[in-house]
Point group: C3
Chain length 151, copies 3
């Protein structure tokens, strides 16, 4: 049964590689936020202020570097889990492998580009391009799934 969510389904087998890499990238941005907080001593919580003995500085919520990583991370959280959920559903609708691969690859490249562009402050419209490319792939998955179950 090639529409099942098993490694025997070639679409699913390809999918989980891309999905896992995207999740890894999202986790990395969470770690990077922690790294910036500790190295720059920018904390949002009392216990951290006490532990790192930066009482004078206190809680800081508007450091531009920390906020930039947080926004990049947040944008991933708004897009990547939804892609993975749509992808799992999509794998059960027996799409053509070539079409599926095209979607998975474009989304993965777009979101990796989004992070690079965000962190290295590449001028617009680079970030908008990466964001909308990922969004279009998600919307394409939505419409393919809805079309499949409607007919």
């Amino acid at each position: 049964m090639t529409t099942s969510l098993t490694l025997e389904n070639p679409v699913f087998r390809e999918f989980i590689g891309y999905a896992t890499i995207l999740i890894l990238k999202t986790l990395f941005l969470g770690l990077l936020t922690s790294f910036y907080r500790v190295t720059k001593k920018i904390f949002a919580t009392e216990e951290d202020v006490s532990y790192f003995q930066v009482k004078k500085k206190g809680i800081v919520l508007d450091d531009p570097d920390v906020e930039r990583v947080r926004r990049a991370h947040q944008n991933d959280l708004e897009n990547i889990p939804l892609f993975v959920l749509l992808g799992i559903i999509y794998c059960t609708t027996s799409p053509a492998l070539s079409v599926a691969l095209l979607h998975f690859r474009i989304f993965t490249v777009a979101r990796l580009a989004h992070t690079v562009v965000y962190l290295f402050k590449v001028p617009q419209p680079a970030r908008a391009g990466a964001f909308f490319t990922g969004m279009c792939i998600n919307l394409s998955l939505v419409f393919q799934i809805l079309f499949k179950i409607a007919f």
Copy 2:
């Protein structure tokens, strides 16, 4: 095998329609945030301020319209992905189709209502009603799953 995550499982087949529509709605709120930012020229990032040449205005983090869409979007992100994850798990526990459909439909209507109520500023307790209805469905799925695997 009607408990597998395939289109042959009628519960799963119904589920993916509702799940995909809810994901589409969440993606739409992400797009709406971008739309408001660009049309109202309210940006959270330096590159956007430069690109749209609104240096005088600079970074704005408290525009009420943008913040309203962002809060509606955030509330979706706190509830809809968890519903989809619970729903996928729930579909493997062979629930009665009628019970499953009732859950999927109430959740979908409640979350669509939540967005409409939020964006059109319908007075409370409309939003609280929509939020708690969705929450109850998620909790009901949680307890049905736990009951199923415990016995």
Copy 3:
């Protein structure tokens, strides 16, 4: 077929128990935020300010108790859905049950500890310990999945 996402797969059967408990905990933090907002009358939205007749106080975005629950909730949203997605994928790669259980249990305990530590203001490095333990489990799942499909 023990690699399918069905209750016949013992790894998946164990997984959904832990996943559901973690999702329940995340939902609980959403409810706790609402509870604090209503009992302390701390609102982020105009309609709530009107409904609870706290016009003088108005919108409050920096109450320390509400912000603490919100940050704990946000940290769950950054980690738990990704764990559940990785876990679903992981269950299709036929891991040893003992290895899988070790991952599921450590992650669940770490995230429950994270919430307790955050809400009860336990001094650092308790929260950092809980966070990094959960992160390590997620990274371990990532690398096991990638290793499995690569070879």
